[in-house]
């Protein structure tokens, strides 16, 4: 089935072909932003699709910062999902179910180490100031400073400084969390 221009109806400014083009152009990068936060392929795909669905249904009024809009929605959805995961993890830990689950799945050592590192890094991100955490996720998802500035509504010339502060904040929190 083809999505019709009427159906998309991006405030009369884009046709279905435009939407498809935008979708395909940004798909893998939006997915990567989501994956870095949730670490699960299916969930990351759902979040990426959700991002495009929001664009499809309620697109931004101004089109001069389209990529910034998409990245912003994706990173916000990703952080919401990460917070939810943290809460669930906490409940499961309290109930002991997480431990049982972890014991029952044998994994190669390298995968275990990577999984633990990812969990630690996400644990730090969730504790950071939201803007700093988003800066880091977007930067290491491959966005340029201009794209980050567009996504987070900040001045492009401030991105370097803000990233440096985010690095410092990350380092301190990581040491604290790993240090127990």
């Amino acid at each position: 089935m083809t999505v019709t221009a009427e159906k998309i109806n991006l405030k009369g400014q884009e046709t279905s072909r435009d939407f498809e083009q935008i979708f395909k152009e940004y798909w893998s990068r939006i997915y990567e932003v989501a994956f870095r936060l949730v670490g699960d392929q299916d969930e990351a795909q759902d979040l990426a699709l959700e991002t495009f669905w929001r664009f499809h249904r309620n697109p931004p009024a101004k089109r001069d910062n389209l990529s910034g809009w998409l990245y912003r929605v994706a990173v916000n959805l990703g952080f919401n999902a990460l917070r939810d995961k943290k809460r669930r993890y906490s409940y499961e830990n309290q109930a002991g179910t997480n431990e049982i689950e972890q014991r029952s799945i044998p994994q190669p050592e390298q995968e275990v180490i990577l999984a633990e590192e990812r969990q630690a890094v996400r644990g730090v991100l969730i504790e950071m100031k939201p803007r700093s955490a988003k800066l880091l996720v977007l930067r290491y998802s491959g966005l340029t400073y201009a794209e980050i500035a567009g996504a987070l509504n900040i001045n492009p010339s401030s991105v370097g400084k803000l990233l440096a502060r985010a690095h410092d904040e990350f380092k301190v929190l990581y040491s604290q969390i790993q240090g127990g």
């Binding site: 089935m1 498809e20 979708f23 395909k24 798909w27 893998s28 997915y31 990567e32 994956f35 870095r36 670490g39 392929q41 990351a44 795909q45 990426a48 699709l49 959700e50 669905w53 929001r54 499809h56 249904r57 009024a61 101004k62 809009w69 912003r72 929605v73 916000n76 959805l77 919401n80 999902a81 917070r83 939810d84 590192e117 990812r118 630690a120 890094v121 996400r122 100031k129 939201p130 880091l136 996720v137 290491y140 340029t144 201009a146 500035a149 987070l152 509504n153 492009p156 010339s157 401030s158 370097g160 400084k161 990233l163 440096a164 985010a166 690095h167 410092d168 990350f170 380092k171 990581y174």
Partner: protein, 391 residues
């Protein structure tokens, strides 16, 4: 020419107001080669990058192809749109938001246009909200009430249009927020932590009235003694909402995107505001209306939408001066409210308390034509201390 090691060091060690730091920052913003090298010179950049790289998708974890993803998108979302639209509109947790829109629409219809064609553009009444009155309602009843109307969802989804006058903006300072908003923003001196400012643009809610449809909704909702004049049919009705400024303290995700999306999608978790204090302020909204309109009758209709019986609504409505009073519905259970003296005027303090959670407050008052709403975690004393420190 790319940045040298020394320039990177100046940039990371220097003050943001230093012209040299600004120059380097401007270059960095444009130069992707230099951006890739910046981590090496940021004091904690290398270490942070090393950890964050662990989050990158592995070989078997990458995105599926664009074509497959696009096919999934069409299958999962677009094809289901028609079936899900009404479920989404009436998802439990967003019901109240739609009720608010509906109420605005009803009030707009009734207040603004009955005699507009007859009297031209001369509006003879000018209302300004000067006070609040609380009415406690049972959300379950509202849901049941609105769920009984098969036309209501069409009315909201198809006929009501919401237009924002600009983008939601984050500003860096109180002064900038004041400038953007067009009024002097005030802040609580006793609030702790970094403050974030968001300027919400003014907005216009408009609707092209399909009178038979609107009357069908009114009838289906069982609103007694309420008829819309025939002259309304085909008229465009509208209500203009003022610019608002929100100042947020603590852990608050108040990015424009979150605010734009908040309350919109039933499938997305709401942002966590459990450690966030916000002060929202905006000029008191004005409503133009022709004279002789049965305002109390419209108010009674509004109260019936909120779940009151016609008799209760009529009685309550007669006790309210609808031209100066905004009636705010709050859930009957889990909330308490009281009048308080705040900021030199009388305000209303609403406390919400869920089992095993800290109480939350919402304190609202109007001073010098500006509406203030302070919300956050804590007890009444916390709320009042903060509100009374506003300057």
């Amino acid at each position: 020419m790319h940045l040298s090691e020394n320039e990177f060091k100046i940039y990371f060690a220097g003050d943001e107001s230093d012209p040299e730091v600004i120059r380097i920052g401007n270059h960095l913003a444009e130069c992707s080669f230099c951006q890739d090298r910046a981590d090496e010179y940021s004091p904690s950049g290398v270490e942070a990058k090393q950890h964050l790289d662990a989050l990158a998708p592995g070989i078997s974890e990458g995105a599926r192809s664009e074509n497959l993803a696009y096919a999934s998108f069409q299958q999962q979302y677009v094809n289901k749109e028609r079936n899900n639209m009404f479920d989404r509109l009436f998802a439990r947790k967003y019901h109240l938001a739609w009720v608010a829109v509906g109420v605005v629409a009803l009030l707009a219809i009734a207040m603004l246009f009955p005699q507009v064609r007859a009297i031209g553009s001369s509006f003879l009444g000018l209302f300004r909200v000067e006070q609040f009155t609380i009415v406690q309602v049972d959300p379950e009843n509202i849901e049941q009430q609105l769920g009984s109307s098969s036309n209501f969802e069409y009315l909201l989804a198809e006929d009501v249009h919401f237009e924002e006058f600009g983008e939601i903006l984050e500003t860096a300072s109180k002064e900038e927020a004041s400038r953007q908003a067009g009024f002097q923003v005030r802040l609580p001196a006793e609030a702790n932590g970094e403050v974030q400012y968001v300027v919400q643009p003014g907005a216009r809610v408009s609707m092209l009235v399909d009178l038979p449809k609107v009357q069908a909704v009114v009838d289906e909702l069982g609103i007694a003694d309420f008829e819309l004049p025939a002259i309304l049919d085909g008229a465009e009705v509208s209500l203009e909402l003022p610019v608002a400024v929100a100042a947020a303290y603590g852990i608050c995700d108040v990015s424009p995107e979150v605010l734009r999306e908040e309350g919109y999608d039933p499938d997305t978790p709401m942002p966590d505001f459990s450690e966030c204090v916000t002060l929202t302020q905006f000029p008191s909204p004005e409503i133009n209306a022709p004279p002789g309109l049965d305002i109390a009758g419209i108010g009674a209709a509004f109260l019936q939408v909120l779940g009151m019986t016609p008799e209760e609504a009529a009685q309550f409505s007669q006790s309210v001066d609808w031209t100066t009073t905004l009636v705010i519905p709050i859930p009957r259970y889990g909330t308490e409210y009281q009048e308080v003296f705040v900021d030199g005027v009388t305000g209303t303090l609403i406390m919400q308390s869920q089992r095993s959670e800290l109480p939350n407050y919402l304190l609202i008052w109007i001073k010098d034509g500006i509406v203030y709403a302070l919300a956050g975690p804590g007890d009444a004393q916390t709320a009042l201390a903060l509100a009374n420190s506003i300057e």
